[in-house]
Amino acid sequence: MSVRLRELAAMIAAWLFGLIWGLPLLYAIWAAFHPSAFATNFDLFAPLTLHNFGRAWEAAPFARYFLNTVLLVLGIMAGQFVICTLAAFGLARWKFFGGEILFALILIQLMVTPDVLILENYRTLHELGLIDTLTGVGLPYVASAFGIFLLRQAFKSIPKELDDAARMEGASTLQTILKVYLPLARPIYIAYGLVSVSYHWNNFLWPLIVTNSVDTRPVTVGLQVFASVDQGVDWSVICAAALMTSAPLMIVFLVFQRAFIQSFLRAGIR
């Protein structure tokens, strides 16, 4: 009897926390799809509307912000794939002089992430003339210790014989990478890609510092500018904007839930 009771208590606790955890998103959906008058007034029979999304879309150049974010996220991912693949391949398969020390130096970036070095990196970008450009926002993240680590692990687990066979047939280093390593490490690339995209879609501090115009601002910074400039606090419009900025990633997540969670796991266990 008491076991039953305890199970019931656990279930109630679980659901209570589940409700609290889901509440912010549920509220945002409520406020965004109802007229402003119902933003703080919970009436089951309140009329539904898409008006808030229209108003948010018109109040700030969200189309441009989305374009910036998409370019940024894809650009960073492409850059990371190329640069981290080359480095990871070198470190995994070439026992070159100083490779071990080099790898240890690379791993420092896992701790000293670019957001801690905002001051110096801003000055570097300034000297390169890259302030307020998408390249400037992405550049510090392109060589990622995390990506190199992840891919190096993956490459190490690929049998050396496959590599040798490709070379016997006269394949160059680049061809070997493309024909042997890329296909075999595909799940790792997917995992790394998902983690990278979701990280940079949500990244805020660095783009906030580097960008100062509509043409470069990603959605997170755009949302913040929008929410803080908008003096008359209209929760419905702010919630609509917040939902809009999160929607693409949320949809990808809902569709690929399993792959997503697997990716975070694979990427997290280092």
Binding site: G90, W94, M111, E120, A143, W201
Partner: protein, 296 residues
């Protein structure tokens, strides 16, 4: 004899060439700036035509006498001390719930994990509404129970805990998946054996589950600790460090000193402190965890 030596030489060169683009970028944006942050902290901030001058430890003397710096340190330590254990405890509880045969576990798992996917800025703006005095959700619920309205983010006593709640909400679900993975690795016959011996639930947790998820707990704790010292998004989006620096955290203070006050020398000294903190955590991780978290 020359051919193999040549081949070996070309191997070293090729290895370095492959890593070169990554080395250049990492050096430019991680190693060089980390060193120059420390170097800059011994110089004054250049003003107009007056260049930066070597001033030794003056920035650090200023720092020791700066009440806002101490406030930021205190806030940050408190932040880490509370959010890290609470999010880990909740993450483990969530994992245990979702791993069991509970009703609607798919929905629960989704509810717990979604905050991880939301951009912090978007989430912060929604939470702002929860904390709004009078109209906000918290005050509306409070009124049902006859509690007076509270200015959650406006009063120094509640502002920091209010931000902590947002952090815990955002992180617990992310950590949950690591515990979930660890729980699924526990051999089921261990539980069966325990049940045969009529072990209670608490005993099973203490003797089997807890020791087996220990490496995960350590791994998550280190990550949570690092995150706690890099928190800044919700401070910018929700309080701007206020009221009266009650929510100023280290990285936010660096951001403020560097990009609002443009005091480069002092910002470098503050960054050096943060680098030192993160370096200490890194060393702790190296000695504590070392090879214990290699599941695969």
């Amino acid at each position: 004899m020359t051919a193999p030596r040549n081949a070996r030489f070309s191997m070293h060169v090729q290895g370095w060439l492959l890593a070169l683009p990554a080395i250049v970028l990492l050096a430019t944006f991680t190693h060089v700036p980390a060193v120059s942050t420390v170097v800059d902290s011994f110089f004054s901030t250049p003003h107009g035509r007056q260049p930066a001058a070597f001033i030794g430890l003056d920035q650090y003397r200023t720092m020791l006498a700066d009440p806002i710096f101490w406030r930021a340190v205190e806030n940050n330590l408190l932040y880490a001390l509370i959010t890290v254990p609470v999010s880990i405890g909740l993450a483990l509880a969530m994992a245990l719930w979702v791993n069991g045969r509970i009703r609607g576990r798919a929905a629960l798992r989704l509810a717990f994990f979604t905050p991880t996917i939301l951009p912090m800025v978007a989430a912060a703006n929604i939470w702002l509404f929860f904390y709004t005095p009078d109209y906000g959700l918290l005050d509306q619920i409070g009124r049902l129970f006859g509690v007076d309205s509270t200015n959650w983010l406006g009063s120094p006593a509640t502002a920091l805990p209010a931000l902590m709640a947002v952090t815990i909400w955002k992180e617990a679900g992310f950590f949950m998946i690591f515990f979930l993975a660890a729980l699924q690795q526990v051999p089921p016959d261990l539980y069966e054996a325990a049940r045969m011996e009529n072990a209670g639930r608490w005993q099973i947790f203490r003797r089997i589950t807890w020791p087996l998820v220990m490496p995960t707990t350590l791994f998550v704790a280190i990550n949570a600790l690092i995150n706690a010292f890099r928190i800044v998004d919700q401070v910018i989006a929700m309080t701007g460090g206020g009221p009266n620096n009650a929510t100023t955290l280290l990285l936010f203070y660096i951001y403020q000193v560097a990009f609002s006050f443009w005091d480069i020398g002092y910002a470098a000294a503050l960054s050096t402190v943060l680098l030192f903190v993160l370096g200490t955590i890194a060393l702790a991780q190296f000695f504590l965890l070392d090879r214990r978290i290699h599941y695969r």
